[in-house]
């Protein structure tokens, strides 16, 4: 049983007929994910490639195909509505890939989802993958992932792939990889993912990839110290970022003295979490941690 997704995951793709939606729906299907339906208003009644039925609304899609997970490839101005529609339709997990959603929209979506007990991963994230279960919800490139004992949670996209690529090459496969996204307000944070990895029998160690901005990493460090027995290895990007500048991700910004990489690294050092100074150190730190744990 992996975190947040497993062999029971049945996915409805919102925005399935768009350029990104259709490309990634195919990628998910080819990987082995159960993509059971798609939604594009106006295209209801048609069939997506590979026989996936398309509906006008998420509610209809869920009723007809018992989808329990939604993945959203919908443009930013319409994403808030898409997220709420999915929650209202009764899915239990929404993975929102979309970048550029106004923060005010996300602030309103979060209580809407919480009231319905729906988890959001993202927005502005690559999604989640469980290699051992052949479930992929999102845009993570399947070729780099291998099943194994390492859980990965990250705010970034390609940096995550870089790290996973090195882990896989070193024989350190992944139980699951969750991209929590680069925005300032997100549905699933480091603590949520760490808690799930701690409970997951297949995960033996966790890699946490953070970046500047906010206090999620600092709070995660406290959580690790109080609630985790499994080893965590961390890397923080943005050590050379100047103050006050948004570094690509909307959430990657140092405000005054708050949210620096230094502050985050110190928080991890304080609780004894091994810190990679550069990405290529992560694999050996994980190997050491697994070695210690398995003795």
């Amino acid at each position: 049983m992996s975190i947040f997704v497993d062999s029971n995951t049945r996915v409805v793709v919102q925005g399935i007929t768009g350029r990104d939606g259709s490309f990634h729906a195919n990628q998910m299907i080819e990987y082995g994910t159960k993509v059971v339906s798609g939604v594009t208003p106006g295209k209801g009644g048609t069939l997506f490639q590979q026989g996936v039925p398309v509906f006008n609304t998420v509610k209809e899609a869920v009723e007809a195909t018992r989808a329990n997970t939604s993945v959203i490839y919908v443009r930013a101005p319409f994403a808030f509505d898409a997220i709420c529609e999915a929650a209202d339709a009764g899915v239990s997990l929404v993975v929102c890939i979309t970048e550029g959603i106004p923060v005010r929209d996300v602030a309103k979506a979060l209580p809407f989802l919480a009231a319905r007990n729906v988890r959001l991963i993202g927005p502005n994230c690559p999604g989640i993958i469980a290699p051992g279960k052949k479930v992929k919800v999102g845009i993570l490139p399947r070729s780099i992932f291998k099943p194994g004992p390492v859980g990965v949670v990250s705010r970034s996209g390609t940096l995550t792939y870089e790290v996973v690529f090195q882990l896989s090459r070193g024989g350190l496969g992944q139980s699951a990889c969750v991209g929590i996204g680069g925005d300032p307000l997100i549905g699933t944070n480091f603590i949520d993912a760490l808690g799930a990895f701690e409970k997951d029998p297949e995960t033996e160690a966790v890699v946490l990839i953070g970046e500047i901005g906010g206090t999620d990493e600092q709070e995660a460090a406290e959580f690790i110290s109080g609630h985790m027995k499994k080893p965590v290895v961390s890397f923080i990007a943005g050590q050379t970022a100047p103050e006050g500048k948004r570094m690509g991700h909307a959430g990657a910004i140092v405000s005054g003295s708050a949210g620096t990489a230094k502050e985050k690294m110190e928080a991890f050092e304080k609780v004894g979490v091994p810190l990679a100074r550069i990405p290529s150190e992560i694999s050996s730190l994980v190997r050491d941690a697994l070695g210690r744990r398995r003795k």
Binding site: A76, R104, A107, K108, I139, P141, G157, L159, F235
Partner: protein
């Protein structure tokens, strides 16, 4: 996106928050005219998008038009933290009995808007937070309901002893929240909110930062953008839909993905080099994007080498390589370029790259080290 004090004051005014009379001028004579028209003491305030204008000498009280003109003369053209003052706001001076701090921010930790207020206004709020944190009152707002009147009243109760003044403060806090919400602000701040000796409550400074992601639905505010203080590379990058931040260094970076781009510039520093920039080229392998990216990086005359670091997941390395070849042929680059292409179709990608004169690297670490070496 940041906007000037005078623009934020205009938004406040529209939102029903009282601000002093004022006009923006670009010449000392203009300052004279405004002061003469008002026939009262005025404050001449530099309009630049940085804090600390007062400390830098960019805010002066003038008792008469001649003084206003002299101060405007001194302040216009002044350099404040790297920005040149091109405009000053000449605004009616207000008598101050009390100074209050009030702001609304989108708080990441609670994931809700947060109103912060303190009776210790007129000073740096970070200083108050450090030295007297108990003087700052915080109130979470449910974004679905907005700021409720009882919340505004409760906050105002901490900020002034006089009940009539409290009522005015509560009204302004309510309006400040509405401005924050309706403009998609990440910050809306009044420091100081002044109580005059006659009990009037006026905002004599204004600051609004707007969520960049919301600009598509805040057209009027987007039109307020002032690029004069921005690095031209950053302005061009925005137009080309690239993320770019200029740094001080000589190793230019072009990377796909913000996290990877940050890690790349960090790695340059770690290996003893100086990154010249942050640049996220996104997921596209479109040659025009590559050309735009290279042109933006090369605006910086200090750049001595360029490291192109691509991890191709969905993005295919052969597509990226074709884009690079097209870009190179179009540009006739004189600087050494190091390319690292890993991922989908990397073999084909490297083959395509052999058409042009670039160094190739198998890993990010090798690429950074090489780029630092050839920059010398």
């Amino acid at each position: 996106m940041k906007i000037h004090e005078y623009q934020a004051k205009e938004l406040f005014r529209k939102g029903g928050i009282r601000v002093p009379r004022g006009e923006v001028v670009t010449t000392p004579d203009g300052a004279y005219d405004v002061a003469a028209e008002y026939a009262r003491p005025v404050v001449v305030k530099a309009q630049v998008l940085v804090g600390g204008r007062g400390k830098a000498g960019g805010v002066k009280v003038a008792g008469n038009p001649e003084e206003a003109k002299r101060y405007a003369q001194a302040i216009l053209g002044m350099d404040i933290k790297g920005l040149t003052v091109e405009k000053v706001l000449v605004t009616e001076a207000v008598d101050i009995a009390d100074e209050i701090y009030v702001a609304v921010i989108m708080d990441r930790r609670s994931q809700k808007p947060l109103v912060m207020a303190s009776a210790a206004g007129g000073v740096e709020i970070e200083e108050v937070a450090r030295e007297r944190p108990e003087a700052i009152h915080r109130l979470s707002v449910d974004p679905r309901y907005g700021l409720l009147p009882f919340q505004a009243r409760s906050l105002a109760g901490f900020l002034h002893k006089d009940f009539v003044v409290q009522q005015q403060i509560a009204a302004i806090v309510d309006k400040l929240y509405r401005v924050f919400d309706s403009t998609d602000a990440s910050l809306a701040e009044i420091n100081p909110l002044v109580v005059t000796p006659t009990g009037e409550v006026i905002a004599i400074d204004a600051k609004i930062n707007v969520d960049d992601n919301a600009l598509y639905r805040q057209k009027e505010i987007e039109e307020m953008r002032d690029v004069s203080g921005e690095d031209p590379g950053e302005v061009e990058a925005r137009k080309a839909d690239l993320s770019f931040v200029k740094l001080k260094g000589n190793v230019g970076c072009v990377v796909n993905g913000a996290g990877l781009a940050m890690a790349t510039m960090d790695l340059v520093k770690t290996y003893g080099g100086q990154p010249a920039n942050f640049l996220d080229i996104g997921g596209s392998s479109n040659p025009q994007k590559v050309v735009s990216a290279l042109k933006i990086v090369l605006r910086d005359r200090n750049v001595r080498s360029i490291f192109i670091n691509i991890f191709g997941g969905i993005t295919r390395c052969d597509d990226v390589a074709r884009g690079l070849v097209t870009a190179f042929k179009e540009m006739d680059l004189k600087l050494p370029v190091v390319v690292r292409l890993t991922g989908t179709n990397e073999e084909q990608g490297r083959e395509i790259l052999s058409e042009i004169d670039v160094h190739t690297a198998a890993t990010m670490d090798d690429g950074v080290k090489k780029a630092i070496e050839v920059a010398r």
